[in-house]
Symmetry: none
Amino acid sequence: MPFDYLPPLLRTSSSKIVLLVMDGLGGLPIEVGGPTELEAARTPNMDRLASEGVLGQVTPIRPGITPGSGPAHLALFGYDPLEYEIGRGVLESVGVGLQVGRGDVAARGNFCTLDEQGNISDRRAGRIATEEAIPLVERLKKITIPGVSTEIRHVKEYRFAVVMRGENLNPDIDDTDPQQVGVPPLAATARSSAADHTADLFNQWIAQARQVLADNPKANGITLRGFATDPNLPTFQDSYGLNAAAISVYPMYKGVASLVGMQVIDFSGETPEDEFSALAEAWDGYDFFFIHIKKTDSKGEDGDFDGKAKVIEGVDMALPHLLDLNPEVLIITGDHSTPASLRTHSWHPVPFLLWAPASARPDDQSSFGERACGHGGLGNFPSMETIPLALAHAGRLEKFGA
Amino acid sequence: MPFDYLPPLLRTSSSKIVLLVMDGLGGLPIEVGGPTELEAARTPNMDRLASEGVLGQVTPIRPGITPGSGPAHLALFGYDPLEYEIGRGVLESVGVGLQVGRGDVAARGNFCTLDEQGNISDRRAGRIATEEAIPLVERLKKITIPGVSTEIRHVKEYRFAVVMRGENLNPDIDDTDPQQVGVPPLAATARSSAADHTADLFNQWIAQARQVLADNPKANGITLRGFATDPNLPTFQDSYGLNAAAISVYPMYKGVASLVGMQVIDFSGETPEDEFSALAEAWDGYDFFFIHIKKTDSKGEDGDFDGKAKVIEGVDMALPHLLDLNPEVLIITGDHSTPASLRTHSWHPVPFLLWAPASARPDDQSSFGERACGHGGLGNFPSMETIPLALAHAGRLEKFGA
């Protein structure tokens, strides 16, 4: 349980909480004295929420630590990533709807191009298009290994996920991707003897995959990475009494949400408006909504300062659709910072806005940005405290002690 | 020991520390952009102290957690309430001067009204007046149970405290108050077999109480709640080297202070002036003074914004009496927030003012209020760090390491 003092305090309520995560929201100025991406963006709606609500800054993992997407989201959900580890193979699998049960072993797969010597000439099979990859995944599905079952699903372009199920499986296996070209894929190798049997099964599977892909000019080989099993996380329901839903375009974030027991909402489209429409449709069925906006991070990683600001402006413009639903608590933040100037995730604290008309204590800030958040009434605090704060402001916690 | 690194660093000193706690001090605005209770109050003395000293905000238990009075005070005194639990029966008993030793079992008692069928018709016996209740408590004192002794003391109106002393007593017993009318009081029921004998003794006591109260029209029954024993807390002397005194009008706060080894000062009157006079009289005998102001919380719970502000103004007006004593360190804060708009304790952080003319590092704030405290030089921090900060500013801590 992320906070073992919370369950005895939980109170039933009809209040609704929305956690709107703009991936990689935190930024940096690109000139001395200049604004960050968030400060540069025109965000009249968020600025109003900042006036009425309260700001702060959150540290995702620990000070100075740059988080990956999985741990950053776990932290926002209240699960200390130093305590709860989730393998990348599991994230990828659950993100495309593959179940990973206790004892199952999941891995991420890449199609790659092998030359005549069996050496890798392209680690991503020329970034093969999704339409070309899907029939190849269908061929992989036909592989059978005695004693176990395998389930394969396409992810995107050259990427797929594989889950193996059977007795006595163990995920303690090194990646088969050598991370370079001109050498052959590595064999699946157990890091401990308990995983020898599982590594052997995966090597059988890889050998058969080579056979069924042999006649394909680009994607004639595969590599597997991130072998992992179900982390068996306590659920949002058990931890917080919340019936939670997740709205995300990208599989990875659906995956991490489903690992904590959130219901992943199906919808079509990929704009903020589409996500908020999905929110409106799901509104009556849940207490808590996690909404994930990916493109802030993508633009940050592209080094596109203006593009990132534009994505933020797009979210701001769509925000009235969300506000029309009258949530009791709305939190707008990011999972981590992705400053365009750095073109990558960073360790900087993340702007945090909490709006709760009935219960937030306003500070004297009136815009949503890094500098304003540095003066916010919530101060600087760990991301992991987000959900307890949300529960409190939503009237979902009883008093501790008399 | 709350901070096991402190005792080796303690230095003797003649410096005096005053911790002035305005119960439920933190508040909320009642209109958009408006002041909180503390911000609305005219507090020229506290504002001057804010200019000369340093501000901050404290979180009592954990972020988002609304504290009860007992845990909130324990936290201010440096004892993590998640680690040190004190039963309500013990708090009530020590608050009226009943000793609760190791192995004793204390409970809170309520007089109640029973109808002819023995069902509760009023859980508080019509809020019977103190004058009426005292003779009934005298009757209860005459009850004898073989093998144990009991001590009873009146608290206020329909409330009393009872402590049972004897061999092999165990407090793991459920409340006998059914928390509703139209049903009889519950029997004292052990939650574990180790408490069966104690529950049986309390049931004998309750049966006799029914007999001695039978002819009273209103208070003809009793309920018992909060069975608990001495938590055996480390003392202020052992933990901090402080000879500490407590000045409070209300029993509960005397109680929690005495559990950490503070000497409770007897005095008459109940205004801030009366409390500060008691402080002046006790001044030479102690190093540390905890002064508790109750009415900020009471007015907050009444939903009386202006009344709460007036109580704060009254404390401010009386403050020169305290300042005349020239404490080396004065801290003014609350145990938790009780915003009038919420009419109850809340989880919001609490304004904190530290004044220490010889050693505080001033920030640039010049008034005492929630927004100013949000910009204070001490930042946001746990209540539990209050005493170490006080000791440091009082010159009572040696350097750690060479």
